[in-house]
């Protein structure tokens, strides 16, 4: 069964304290892996798409990486405005439509 697991469920950081969020996945074939940011009471906002192992994408303080079994979202020197829930999702090769979502990591960055 296709599955996405994110860890940790929640993460508290001090401002400037770098860390990583993990997304491990099990799919028969990976079409793509997606990272989203979600602020409270709002819809998820697209961050990155990764398609193949070894690929990396960067945006400001965020960098996403992909291996054959997992993806990491690295947060370098985070600021309080980076506080949000980060969602990972995969698009299986055998489905043209659906994404399978993880349950998310709630990140809190304290000043």
């Amino acid at each position: 069964e296709d599955q996405v697991t994110q860890s940790p469920e929640a993460l508290r950081l001090q401002e400037g304290e770098s860390s990583s969020l993990n997304c491990s996945y099990t799919v028969s074939g990976l079409r793509g892996l997606f990272w989203y940011r979600q602020d409270p009471g709002k819809g998820p906002e697209f961050l990155f798409t990764l398609y193949s192992a070894g690929e990396e994408k960067e945006k400001e303080r965020l960098k996403a990486t992909l291996t054959k079994k997992e993806s990491f979202l690295h947060i370098t020197a985070p600021k309080p405005e980076d506080s949000a829930t980060y969602l990972c999702a995969v698009s299986p090769m055998d489905s043209s439509y659906k994404l399978i979502f993880g349950s998310g990591t709630r990140l809190l960055v304290r000043p």
């Binding site: 079409r31 793509g32 997606f34 989203y36 009471g41 709002k42 819809g43 998820p44 906002e45 697209f46 798409t49 969602l87 999702a89 698009s91 299986p92 489905s95 043209s96 439509y97 659906k98 994404l99 979502f101 993880g102 349950s103 998310g104």
Partner: protein, 112 residues
């Protein structure tokens, strides 16, 4: 900028009412989706549509129906609202082949 627009941010409805949640996208996307999001349960797919007048059940379709008469509009219908349908409802659209979704801002529905 591409957009998915949900008609209401907050709704309060009474038990037994018929409820319509509307979603419109301006990206000419083939695929549209309705999810609900609850604490501890994550995003759960209710229904999706891959073409006008086409629909498929997701993981939790019970108590819901959908309508897609035009490509840009996808409606979620709660036939007889119940308190266990109190949730955040998210609409999304995507082009074919799983290139990722664009989400709307969500509708927080409370059924009393």
């Amino acid at each position: 900028d591409v957009k998915v627009t949900q008609s209401s941010r907050y709704l309060v409805k009474r038990t037994g009412e018929k409820v319509f949640l509307e979603c419109v996208q301006d990206m000419d996307h083939e695929n549209m989706f309705w999810y609900r999001q609850d604490p501890g349960l994550g995003l759960r797919l209710i229904y999706f549509s891959y073409d006008v007048k086409m629909k498929e059940k997701g993981d939790i379709p019970e108590g819901y129906s959908v309508s897609r008469e035009k490509k840009e509009r996808f409606s979620l219908i709660l036939e007889s609202a119940s308190t266990n349908q109190t949730s955040m409802y998210l609409c999304a659209s995507s082009p074919p082949l799983g290139y990722g979704y664009t989400f709307g801002s969500g509708t927080r529905l409370t059924v009393v």
